[in-house]
Structures are given as structure tokens and as C-alpha cells.
């Protein structure tokens, strides 16, 4: 009995499903489950063809023709585009010889933003100190002990060079000079505050700041 014959009723006509008018496949019955002889839906077939063609074009475009960049080149392009943007940003120069704390609200707000992004991890939300020292008192680790004074320039140098053995990395590539000045100015606003969980004083007590 060939497959085509299986589709026929004894009198030669294919059996038709009453609800859908579709043809049954003869001989296809499994525990009462029957199967219809419907063709593949055209849209389905075209979708399948489309994805196959897409796949071929994709492989050719990326790997044979080189129409589109692969990931390493894509990254290079992205970095090059960013370099252009960065160059366009005007560089704010600061006077390193006579560095003073900034007091303008905008500077302090910008300093706080940097602090909350970066410094907070080791120095605490309120400058109370965690792994790093607190900022609330006049005890400083990196002051200028020969002249017995500590200045914002001393702190600036710490941010630029880092104290890697203690875990403070150099931020010279992450922060611009003005950003460092701003964040240090913000940090100085912690002076004299008394937040909870303050870390014990570290370093040497200085009398003057400036």
C-alpha cells in the first residue's frame, strides 16, 4: 500500500475534516490522533528562506567581503570617535602653585558628585572614613610635616599619584585637574563635622590648613 493510496477512502475519495475542510492523511492515526495533509504555510516558508538568505549575507558581509567591522575594529572606531569628543571639551586649567579651596556652590556640587561616585567607597558617605582615613578632623597622613602645614596641594598630589600600597589608586586619568580641585574642596566641608561611625584619627595633627 503506497503512501498516496493511504490518503484515500475505500471508494477513492480523500477524507475531509468537517470543521476546516482540510484533507486528512489516511493511515495517520496514533492513539486517536490524526494528521491533516496541509501544506507548509507560504508566509512561514518565506520567513524561513528570508532568514537563510539573511544568514548568508551576514556571513559574507562580515567575513568575506568585509563590509562591516568585526568587534576589535568596531571598538577602535568607537574609541576614535570618543577621542574627537574629548578633544572638543575645553580644558580648564588650574593654578597649581596657588591652589585654594573653591567655595562656589556649583563647584562644591560638582565636587560632591565626584565624591559620591568615587571616594565614597573607601572614605564613607559623610567623610567618616572606612578603609581610607576620615576627613572630619585636622589629622592628616600626607601633610607637609617639615613645614608643619597641610595644604590642598598636598591632597592634590595624593589624588594624582595615589598611595597604592594602601589601596588608593592614582586618579590622574579619571579626573581632570578642576574636578580634583572641586572634590577636594567638597571634602574640606567635612572638617569639623561629627558623623556616626567615625574612623579613629590617622596621621599627624596639623594646626593650620593652607
Amino acid at each position: 500500500m503506497s503512501n498516496t493510496d493511504e490518503n484515500k477512502l475505500p471508494h477513492g475519495e480523500p477524507e475531509i475534516d468537517e470543521l476546516t475542510n482540510d484533507r486528512y492523511l489516511g493511515g495517520h492515526e496514533y492513539d486517536g490522533i490524526r494528521e491533516l495533509d496541509n501544506k507548509l504555510p507560504a508566509w512561514w516558508l518565506y520567513l524561513f528562506y528570508f532568514t537563510i538568505i539573511f544568514g548568508l549575507v551576514y556571513l559574507v558581509g562580515y567575513h568575506l567581503a568585509g563590509w562591516w567591522p568585526l568587534q576589535d575594529d568596531e571598538y577602535k572606531n568607537e574609541v576614535a570617535a570618543a577621542a574627537v569628543i574629548k578633544q572638543a571639551v575645553p580644558v580648564v586649567t588650574i593654578d597649581l602653585e596657588n591652589l585654594v579651596p573653591l567655595t562656589a556652590e556649583a563647584d562644591l556640587a560638582s565636587g560632591k558628585e565626584t565624591y559620591d561616585k568615587i571616594c565614597v567607597t573607601c572614605h564613607g558617605k559623610f567623610g567618616e572614613g572606612l578603609v581610607g582615613p576620615n576627613f572630619t578632623d585636622m589629622f592628616w597622613i600626607h601633610g607637609d610635616s617639615t613645614n608643619n602645614k597641610v595644604s590642598i596641594k598636598n591632597l592634590y598630589d595624593v589624588v594624582i599619584t595615589g598611595v597604592i600600597e594602601k589601596g588608593m589608586i592614582s586618579y590622574k586619568d579619571q579626573l581632570s585637574p578642576i574636578q580634583i580641585q572641586q572634590v577636594l574642596s567638597f571634602i574640606l566641608t567635612f572638617q569639623g563635622t561629627n558623623p556616626a561611625n567615625q574612623k579613629a584619627p590617622q596621621g599627624k595633627k596639623y594646626d593650620t590648613f593652607g
Partner: protein, 715 residues
């Protein structure tokens, strides 16, 4: 023709159905717990075995292999016997399969919580259990093939095609991905490292989705949907095409889990295009499922079973469209490592697998107990709760995924990251995590209602342990007849069918994995990359044991948003000694691959790490990382060092000859140095504690490349 009488074994079906319900409830409850832990770290209970990194694999394994696994076997034992007009070939094999599978689940839960894990997602179980799985799986498959061979029907139905493909492919995947060398009774290292391990793992991982969560469930759909609707299957031709296309194409798609990562570009592209080509074959199943209801849509209104099936198949259609979309590079750049993926898989798990299982159970149990369902109203209530739950679960996670991606990638006019602190993003998506708990809990409660409904049904009925049926014996038939369609011929030659299925599923894996061994340029070597020190190796094993990879990736992708945040992007050659690889698949916390680079943005001192492991919230109030304070109590298992070194040497890691004997000297020296450094910072911890090893490992991460240059030997 003379009719033969035979009996269907319903008891094995009943046992698997009970196991499905039981493990389903357990798996969902654990899911709710891990969802809560992501919002309230206190729910990690500060105990090693209740912490997220160990509990999350219990959730995924319980849902995939316990809930869905038992669901597969429930429907399979019921339908196989009836579709073949015979009882199971071997009773002892059926019951060994059942009890073997349940013992695997129990062993899995216990060992995972105890911290014995291979560190490879969805394949976390260690080598003795891997062997047990292989044995039990072969018993299951042997019994199936034997039953098929003694059938009384001439042809095998499409459901059985899917069962056969499931059996052979899962066996190949499981064995292929689990080749490992033990260094103790419960621990081993995989033979693959880095890029190769990643490719093998996601060849496995992706096809666990394909051949454990998809093909067997398509088989169940092809049986239970026409049965429940009492309608014919829409198109036999479509069954053939979509079946073969599906199993052939699926195997290739694994690398779409590794886009923009350190695997060869050609492998990534194959992953992308084969994923895309899967849309139509997957939808073939959806069409055949939904169009089987043509002429009977009115029944869907009355019959909760059909409602569950319709939502299940719709969810299947949605996630098999979404999957290929997520495999496009531009979309994957956004979605990968975020909660989008988690949302995506839950459409599949909650919608497709969950709802198909529920519908099947509601249909099956009254029949097994020769009664009616206790309450159609409660089943409808369950349906609506479940449907809403899927929305409440997935929409917040899609939203979270988008939020994460846009915040991670946002630069300001000056070209700097707007949200350089990872925690800013974590805090932003917290409300979505809360909504997800609500969605998950709702789904869980719906399942509880189902259990109640089923218990009532079971109590009202009387179990039909064996069911008699009659059919004529199968006549012997030889080769292909003239005019016989080739596939029709194949359907009465199950062994040939199985061999063809094996061929179809082997091709993709071979093409994608073998060249990474044969062609050197696929993984350019980096001369400065050295094996881990013994202490770092011990630390790495603690990292794996605690399941850190569940939340942290070790794979920086080549995007400016990632290199600005984490440092230099990852290179294939950096991972050559990573047995297993730990790239991760989700960033609940930040990537850690450059954590040890002292000039990097993420560098933190040993003392910070110590304090952070002890109490992450002390260091970052909004952190959701659990405490790992026991790491300062437990000692490093230095007795294992020589065996670990020897296994690594066997795997080709170039430790000097005889290093296993002196490795612990180096270990102690390095540990004492770290402990002394911590002491100088006021932290008193013995050098033999686990936290020391973990710190050593973390500080090593990503540091080899800073002095090295990448060279491909073939270039």
C-alpha cells in the same frame, strides 16, 4: 488479524506526576527566596549554604531538571505506551529511572548547598552525580528504544521523533560538557579551559534549553494538545520540516551566549545566523500547536487545559522570536549581562514549560484516577493568576534590563561615564526587583492552588494502576517500498531514525568546537599569562564554591562603556589556565576581570576586600551582596593542593615537574604576606583562612596582560 491484549503502566506516570508537582513547588519556592535575597540581603541568613551564590543554582536545577524533567517523563510514559500500543518494555528500567532521577535531584540539592559545584551554569553537578545522570539517562533511553522496537503500530508519531532526538542529544551534550578530572571524591576540574570551556559550556547550556526544555515539550504538545482538543494535527508536512530543521539548526546557536566576548568572530557569527534561522522551525511547532485548535476555539473558553496550552504555545512563540533577536549583535550589546535575559528565560520557563506542564497535569490526573477534576473554577483561577504572574514577573525585568543598559552605556558631553558607580544602577532597578518578587510569588501561589485541586481530585477518584488495550501484532516489513515516501519509511525504522538524528545534531558542535583546538590563531597566546599560584588556585576554587559567577562576570566586552568602567577588554589568551572558565552570564554585581590591576579603576586594597567580604553593606550601604563572614573562620584545605596541582599538570597547565610537593610552601608564604599586610591595616586574621586565598585570587584577576603582548603563532 488477531488482536493482542496488553497493559499500560499508569503507576510510573502517577509517580512522575507527583514528583513534578513536588519539585515544582520546591523549585518555585526557592525561586521566590532568591528573588527576595536580591532585595533584602539579610535573607541570605549569613550562612554559607543559604547564600544566593549557592541557592540560585538550586533554583535553576530544580526547575529545569526536577520540575520540567519529571514533567517530561510524566507525559512521556503516558503517551509513549499509548502511541506505540504496548506497555513499557522493561518495568525495572522504568522504576530505576524514576528512583534514580529522584536520587539525582536530592543529591544535587544537598551537594550544591554544601558548595560542591563545577562552576558551569546548568551543569553545576560534580563528577559522581554526572556519572549517575549518564547511567540513569541511558536506562531511560534504552527502555524507550526497546519499547519502540516492540511496538504494535507501524509508524512512530511526531511526538516520538522529538523524544528520540531528546534522548540522544541530551546524552551527547551531558557527556561532552562533563568531561572532567577528579581531584577528590566530590570535586574535579573540567578538561576544557577558557575559550574552549566557554564554547563547550554554551554548546551544552544553549542546547539544554533546546533539548531539555524545548524538544521533549514539543513532543508532549504534539500528544496532549490534539488529545485535549480532540482535533487533528494541522500539518504533517510541517512536522517533518520543522522537526529536522529544529534539531539540526539548534546545535549551532550556542555561541550567541558569547557575543562580543573573547571567542573567535566566526564562531560568534555562526551563533547569530543559526539563531536567526531558528525562528521559522521554532514557529513551525507553534503553528502546528495553535492551528490544531482550528474549528475548536470555542472549547478554549470552557476548558482550562486548553487555556494553559494556548498561553504555553504563545509564550513559546514569543521567546523563540525574542531569542533570535537577542542573538543579533546590536541587541545583544544591550541585553547581555542584564536582567533582560532573566526576563526572557522566564517567559520560556513560566509560560512554555510551566503552563504546558499545568495543562498536562490537569488533563492527566482525572484520567489516571477515573474521575473529574475537583474544581474547574480553581483551575481557571490558577490560569489567571499564572498569566498575570508571568506579566508581573517579566515586564519589570525587561524594564530593568533596559534601565541597566542605558545607565551603563551613558556618557556625558565630556566623554565620561555618567554612572561610573555600579551601585547607582543597582539602586535604580531595586523597584523592579521588588515587583519581580510579587510576580514570582503570585505564580507560586497559583501552583499551590493546583496542588490542592489535584489532591482533591485524587482523593475523589480511584487510581487505575494498569489499563488494558488491544491491538494486532506488528507485521514484519522490509525495506522501502515503491511509492513510499522516504520519511514515511523512516518512521517505521526507529533505529535509522535515531542514527540520522545523531548525525544532524553532531555537525554543528563539531564545526564550532573542534577548530578552536586545531587552529592556533583562534586563541592567540599571550606570553605573560602564567598559571595561578597555589594560593590563588585555592582562592579560585572558593570563588567557584561560593558561586560568585552567579552575579559577577569575568569578561570585559570591547565597548568603550565597559573599558571605561572596568579597564582593558578581555583577550582570549588570558583564560588559557581557567579550568573552568568563569565568564558568567549576568552582572548583578560588577565585572571582576580587572579587579586586581593596580592602575585600574576598580583596584581596591586587600583590607577593603577583607572588610567587604565580612560586611558588604558596611562598605556600601546600598550593596545587595551577601556577607561572607565565614570565610574568615574556615581554613584553606591545603591538603588538596598537591592533587589540584597534579590534575592541572595533567590538563597541560605548565607547573614545573614535582611542583605539587612544594606548592604548599609557596601557598603559605603568599598567605602570610597578605595576612601581614592586613595586620598593618589593623585587621587580625590568620594566614590559613579562606578569605586570604580569595583575596589573593581577586588581586590576581586580569593582571597578567599589563606587561604582555598578544601574539598569534600563525601570524
Amino acid at each position: 488479524m488477531e488482536l493482542q491484549k496488553f497493559y499500560y503502566d499508569n503507576k510510573i506516570v502517577k509517580l512522575f506526576a507527583y514528583a513534578t508537582l513536588f519539585w515544582g513547588i520546591v523549585g518555585m519556592l526557592v525561586g521566590v527566596l532568591v528573588a527576595i535575597q536580591l532585595v533584602f540581603p539579610a535573607f541570605n541568613f549569613n550562612l554559607a549554604f543559604t547564600t544566593f551564590g549557592r541557592v540560585r543554582p538550586v533554583h535553576t536545577n530544580a526547575i529545569i531538571f526536577a520540575f520540567v524533567g519529571n514533567g517530561i517523563f510524566t507525559g512521556y510514559y503516558y503517551s509513549l505506551q499509548r502511541l506505540l500500543k504496548t506497555g513499557m518494555a522493561s518495568k525495572w528500567m522504568s522504576y530505576t529511572h524514576f528512583w534514580g532521577w529522584q536520587s539525582i535531584i536530592v543529591l544535587a540539592a544537598v551537594t550544591l548547598l554544601a558548595g560542591f559545584t563545577s562552576g558551569k551554569e546548568y551543569a553545576e553537578l560534580e563528577w559522581p552525580i554526572d556519572i549517575l545522570i549518564a547511567v540513569i539517562w541511558v536506562i531511560f533511553g534504552w527502555n524507550m528504544m526497546w519499547t519502540i522496537l516492540k511496538r504494535r503500530t507501524k509508524h512512530i508519531y511526531v511526538a516520538i521523533w522529538f523524544y528520540i532526538a531528546t534522548f540522544v542529544t541530551v546524552a551527547v551534550l551531558h557527556i561532552g560538557n562533563s568531561i572532567e578530572i577528579p581531584w577528590s571524591f566530590l570535586k574535579s576540574y573540567p578538561v576544557y579551559a577558557g575559550v574552549q570551556d566557554a564554547l563547550v559550556q554554551w554548546w551544552y547550556g544553549h542546547n539544554a534549553v533546546a533539548f531539555f526544555l524545548t524538544t521533549p515539550y514539543l513532543g508532549l504538545m504534539y500528544y496532549f494538545m490534539p488529545k485535549a482538543a480532540n482535533r487533528p494535527v494541522y500539518s504533517y508536512k510541517l512536522s517533518i520540516i520543522h522537526f529536522w530543521a529544529l534539531i539540526f539548526l539548534y546545535i549551532w546557536a550556542g555561541p550567541h551566549h558569547l557575543l562580543y566576548q573573547s571567542i573567535p568572530n566566526w564562531a560568534q557569527s555562526l551563533g547569530t545566523v543559526f539563531s536567526l534561522m531558528l525562528i521559522a522551525p521554532s514557529w513551525g511547532g507553534m503553528i502546528n500547536g495553535l492551528l490544531t485548535l482550528r474549528g475548536a476555539w470555542d472549547k478554549v473558553r470552557e476548558e482550562p487545559v486548553l487555556k494553559f496550552f494556548v498561553v504555553a504555545i504563545t509564550a513559546y512563540g514569543m521567546s523563540t522570536f525574542e531569542g533570535p533577536m537577542l542573538s543579533l549583535k546590536s541587541i545583544n550589546a544591550i541585553s547581555h549581562f542584564t536582567n533582560w535575559t532573566v526576563g526572557h528565560v522566564h517567559i520560556g520557563a513560566l509560560g512554555w514549560n510551566g503552563f504546558l506542564t499545568f495543562g498536562m497535569i490537569y488533563w492527566l490526573m482525572p484520567r489516571l484516577f477515573n474521575t473529574k477534576l475537583y474544581s474547574v473554577k480553581l483551575a481557571n483561577l490558577h490560569f489567571w493568576m499564572g498569566t498575570l504572574a508571568i506579566l508581573f514577573y517579566s515586564i519589570p525585568l525587561y524594564w530593568a534590563g533596559w534601565t541597566e543598559a542605558s545607565m551603563f552605556k551613558q556618557f556625558n558631553e565630556a566623554g565620561e561615564l555618567v554612572y561610573p558607580n555600579f551601585l547607582q544602577v543597582v539602586s535604580q532597578i531595586m523597584p523592579m526587583y521588588v515587583m519581580r518578587i510579587f510576580g514570582g510569588t503570585l505564580y507560586f501561589l497559583g501552583a499551590i492552588i493546583m496542588v490542592f485541586n489535584i489532591v482533591k481530585t485524587v482523593k475523589a477518584g480511584s487510581f487505575v494502576a494498569t489499563e488494558a488495550d488491544e491491538a494486532p501484532a506488528l507485521e514484519k516489513e522490509g525495506g522501502m517500498k515503491s511509492g513510499e515516501d522516504f520519511h514515511r519509511f523512516l518512521e517505521r525504522k526507529p533505529v535509522r531514525f535515531m542514527i540520522l538524528a545523531i548525525v544532524a545534531i553532531l555537525i554543528g558542535g563539531i564545526v564550532e568546537i573542534v577548530p578552536t583546538y586545531l587552529i592556533k590563531s583562534n586563541i592567540p597566546t599571550i606570553s605573560s599569562v602564567k598559571p595561578y599560584t597555589p594560593l590563588e588556585l585555592q582562592g579560585r576554587d572558593i570563588y567557584i564554591k561560593e558561586g560568585c559567577y552567579n552575579c559577577h562576570s569575568q569578561m570585559i566586552r570591547p565597548f568603550r562603556s565597559e573599558t571605561e568602567r572596568y579597564g582593558e577588554y578581555s583577550k582570549a589568551g588570558e583564560y588559557v589556565y581557567d579550568h573552568p572558565f568563569q565568564w558568567g552570564s549576568k552582572r548583578t554585581g560588577p565585572d571582576l576581570w580587572r579587579e586586581g590591576v593596580k592602575t585600574g579603576r576598580l583596584y581596591k586594597p586587600d583590607s577593603w576586600h577583607y572588610n567587604h567580604f565580612m560586611d558588604p553593606q558596611k562598605m556600601n550601604a546600598t550593596s545587595i551582596m551577601p556577607k561572607y563572614s565565614w570565610l574568615a573562620d574556615y581554613e584553606i584545605d591545603i591538603n588538596s593542593t598537591p592533587a589540584k596541582i597534579r590534575v592541572m599538570q595533567t590538563l597541560g597547565v605548565p607547573y614545573p615537574e614535582g611542583y605539587d610537593k612544594i606548592a604548599n610552601d609557596d601557598l603559605k608564604a603568599q598567605a602570610e604576606k597578605i595576612a601581614a599586610g592586613l595586620k598593618a591595616q589593623g585587621i587580625d586574621v590568620d594566614s590559613n583562612k579562606q578569605v586570604i586565598a580569595l583575596i589573593a585570587y581577586i588581586q590576581r584577576l586580569g593582571t597578567d596582560i599589563s606587561s604582555g603582548t598578544e601574539t598569534a603563532e600563525t601570524k
